[in-house]
Symmetry: D2
Subunit: 325 residues, 4 copies
């Protein structure tokens, strides 16, 4: 191991001329992790599995117990974590949480060390990512946005896709770290473009899912067998992920939420949230998004009509006749 470290060090010192080299010198130095919810918890666990010491915190102490039992060191607040780790990953629900955790009174930037790599995997407004990057830079730290795709299932299996935005030089360091939690780590461009890519993907996903649900419903009403219709769509130009990998019609496919009463998966509330971010971005850049806008409204309606906790493919059920009609 020592020989490996020395060789790696030499290679790294050559390869990374930036302040990151000191960070990467011993790649298994502690990694900070802030936000141990449905996604953060399995992500942090995968870091532990890969041999990274983890120093973590969460506003809810109960969320920390499991990780503590697995060997993570639990501290009281983000600032404490920043004091002890020079690579930190954050996984938080929304912009206000990110602003608080980075810029708040007990936030990361209160105690962050120069050269620290900050990777925010929350899905938030790209302009907030840019703000955090500017604030981090003032403290000599490096901020990257790296929102994920794949949901809790992929988080558990370390098969997430990370869409990373930030200074390109830092990407390799980020990739090494994120690679223990994901199967795809993609560089997207400057800070904010990771969020942009995530938001764009989810807008197109929502459009494809609602489109698939409407199409399957129409086809069934016109006398087509659902499985046959799906087969035809999937061999034709109508093909999309929602029809060939996550079909919303019960009975067409196994192992997807439609086969399990729409339990699990990616919730309607989360999709509505992401579509809200897409809408905000579109409004701010004066971009017309007619279908994207309507998709957002449809998921917003579903939240209000009892579908908040169901997988987003339940839009098929939402469009169908209620029982007894």
């Amino acid at each position: 191991i020592i020989k490996e470290c020395l060789i790696k060090s030499w290679w790294l010192m050559v390869y990374f001329p930036s302040p990151a080299s000191s960070r990467s010198m011993a790649s298994k130095t502690p990694v900070g992790f802030i936000g141990l919810g449905n996604m953060g918890s399995p992500m942090a666990k995968n870091l532990l599995k890969h041999g990274y010491p983890v120093i973590a915190t969460d506003v809810f102490p109960e969320s920390c117990k499991e990780l503590q039992d697995l060997g993570a060191q639990i501290l009281d607040c983000p600032a404490e974590v920043a004091d002890k780790a020079d690579r930190i990953i954050t996984m938080l629900p929304s912009s206000p949480n990110v602003i608080e955790v980075y810029n708040g009174p007990n936030g990361i930037l209160k105690k962050v060390k120069k050269g620290t790599l900050l990777i925010d995997s929350s899905t938030i407004d790209p302009s907030v990512s840019k703000e955090m990057a500017v604030a981090a830079e003032k403290m000599g730290a490096v901020f990257m946005d790296a929102p994920v795709s794949g949901g809790v299932g992929a988080a558990n299996l370390a098969k997430l896709t990370f869409m990373v935005g930030g200074v390109e030089e830092e990407f390799t360091a980020a990739k090494e770290l994120l690679g223990s939690m994901g199967a795809n780590v993609v560089y997207c461009g400057p800070v904010g473009t990771g969020q942009a890519a995530k938001i764009c993907n989810n807008m197109l996903l929502a459009i494809g899912m609602i489109g698939t649900a409407e199409t399957m419903n129409l086809g069934i009403r016109l006398g087509l067998d659902p499985k046959l219709l799906a087969k035809i769509l999937n061999m034709s130009s109508g093909r999309c992920w929602s029809s060939d990998t996550y079909n919303p019609v019960p009975g067409v496919m196994e192992g997807v939420p439609s086969a399990n009463n729409y339990q699990g998966g990616f919730g309607t509330t989360l999709m509505a949230k992401d579509l809200g971010l897409a809408q905000d971005s579109a409004t701010n850049t004066k971009t017309p998004v007619l279908l994207g806008s309507l998709a957002h409204q449809i998921y917003r309606m579903m939240c209000a009509r009892g579908y908040a906790g169901k997988d987003f493919s339940s839009v098929f059920q939402f469009l169908r006749e209620e029982e007894g009609q």
Copy 2:
């Protein structure tokens, strides 16, 4: 050849107990073809290439010349064709044309022989297909709807996809014939389900194309490189045919209309027409199709604003800022 015919005959007489057997006895008997437009012409040519004698007609004599030069026999009207062929394919622009060609004063049904197989590859309202099937049955003929997918390109290359509806027993006979013009011949169910499958596919295609155009436009406005964004979408859940096979953004892909100023391909007017059929079907079956409905309106708007002759992927251009703004 004679030996082949005899063996085939024996096999067919065993295999096809229906009236179709007499039709299939010598599989290269003349095939009627009515409608020699952009699609019908190359389709009829492929029949000729496969050794089928073709007896054809079209309301425009000029459309018949090319086929005549290639050896087809040109007659004056559909009734004349029906008198000479016991397998007839029709390829017409819309429902009124189909009704005229089948049920009009000089229509097919005026002289159709018992047991004739009628295959309509026009894209029309499924309820009209069902009407024609009923009318044909009264004359002892068999009607199937078999609309196509793939456009002029696929028509030329005999790579069309046929979606066939009708009596299942007749499918094999239809498949044999259509196989000389297409790469996929799919049985969809009773009469009308071929139209249903086609209409459904094109509705989902339109939704996917507009969704892709909006998404690519938003991503570009948020600082993403188009090629990179397409790459990310195509490895993620946003993936669809429009993003990975027919991307609407110039420069992302070669060999597609966006790389050629949106020339060729599948015109906006045709897409608007198909979406109108989808909307009619949805209205008639009381099916909510929010995105499908809006997609129809968007393509209808594009027709009015100068995009009628462009490929349907020009929606990307339609959503972008006009030059000089």
Copy 3:
């Protein structure tokens, strides 16, 4: 009475030079009425109140009893009515009913007398009205479309609005008759334009109602008192019938369905039907109707989600959070 008749006759013979004059000679000759449903029944009653002898029929004998008790003569089928009356009003649910009643085996046109005035007050596809007009003309009769607005309430109070299409010369005769059932009788143009006006009005009404519901809901969520918001809208450019005469928010206005749990009024199913007609017309004339199309989809969705029997202003309730969320 005889003196009155003679004076009227003289005046009418001067005023009406068309074949209608013989019809109008004695203005209280029997009027046929076919279709005694929710609307037809009160309409026929108002004819009786105005002293017109009524000869009626309906597919459901039970619907005829009330009118019979009030003095109407009930016959077996439309043809019978046509044999006895030279002015006939029809009030039927949809196009197929109209086609059956006029053109069916026992239909009006089987026995209609030359010069008969046929007024169809059903709300149907304008192209069907035109078909009926052509068929009627072949039998020497005159057909006008005169769909109504105002609902059951206005029907009872003889305060309907009739939108009349047909030959202008016949309008005065129609107006006299319809004036006993309505407060407004408007000439719209050739046959079919009455339907067009009705369909257009209801499309704009639906858009206004959904718009008002969304606006009121948003305002309430932003802290505005509903009554105050309505007051502001109604003194400003947001003003519309749905906000100032039929507000969908409980507590804002009395005497409207929102004050009575959305009972009565103009049902969601009926609105969805009219919007389907508007959509068909738009598709057939290649007219982009983005909001109209979406309004249609929204009402179609509401039908599937339990709102079919409620007044169309219940869209406000549909957009709100369900209880317990």
Copy 4:
């Protein structure tokens, strides 16, 4: 005049127990005005006409000349104005401008005197109004949002509608001041509700205008005369401000932009901006606004397609066939 002042003072001292009384003691004390654009300039002029001394500033010195010639005192920045006036009106394009003018380095709050009444007539996000109110309160000043409706025309004629949010006690003072610039001054509720009312009205207005344009277009395609159709709509349940006061179809009405090639009026860009604010508010409060959302997208599209400078009723032209098709 002195007697009038004394009587007013006595009355005011009785009527206004709040700190405002000192402000209102001599009602013609100088009024600050920040933002002298298309709207601000005529508004400030009307204040001058009513005898209020005006102390003004604007980032563009050229905008100040006209007012200076009319007797206003021009100062260098908002802070200077705050130092000299205890009633200040701001009229700025958007949230960032408001934040700068109030909270910036040379902003109002740098020098504002205790008890100052701050009235912001910009149309911005209600949450920003609330922020400014909190910041103002810290400095002992009172902030009210009072966005306007009516456009440049109404601004010139002092016929604006003000929708006011803030502490109810201060409303009378605000009303007195605003009354010199408007015909309607309406109290809406706490801070932010003025913006809410404005945003809601304009969302419903946009929906009504697009709905009217679609409806008129459809009716014309179905053979109806535009003037007659408008007349029918306006006597029926389809009636709305856009159809009866600002009809978008050329030839239907005089004295409106449609009669003048859509010049003047309320620009498409401004409407798109307001609809963006409505969308933001809806997203933030999780309110489904399907038609409102689509209306926003339509106006956003129009901005990109050459309609940015035209009156918002030009949507009718946008939906019609381009010349030469």
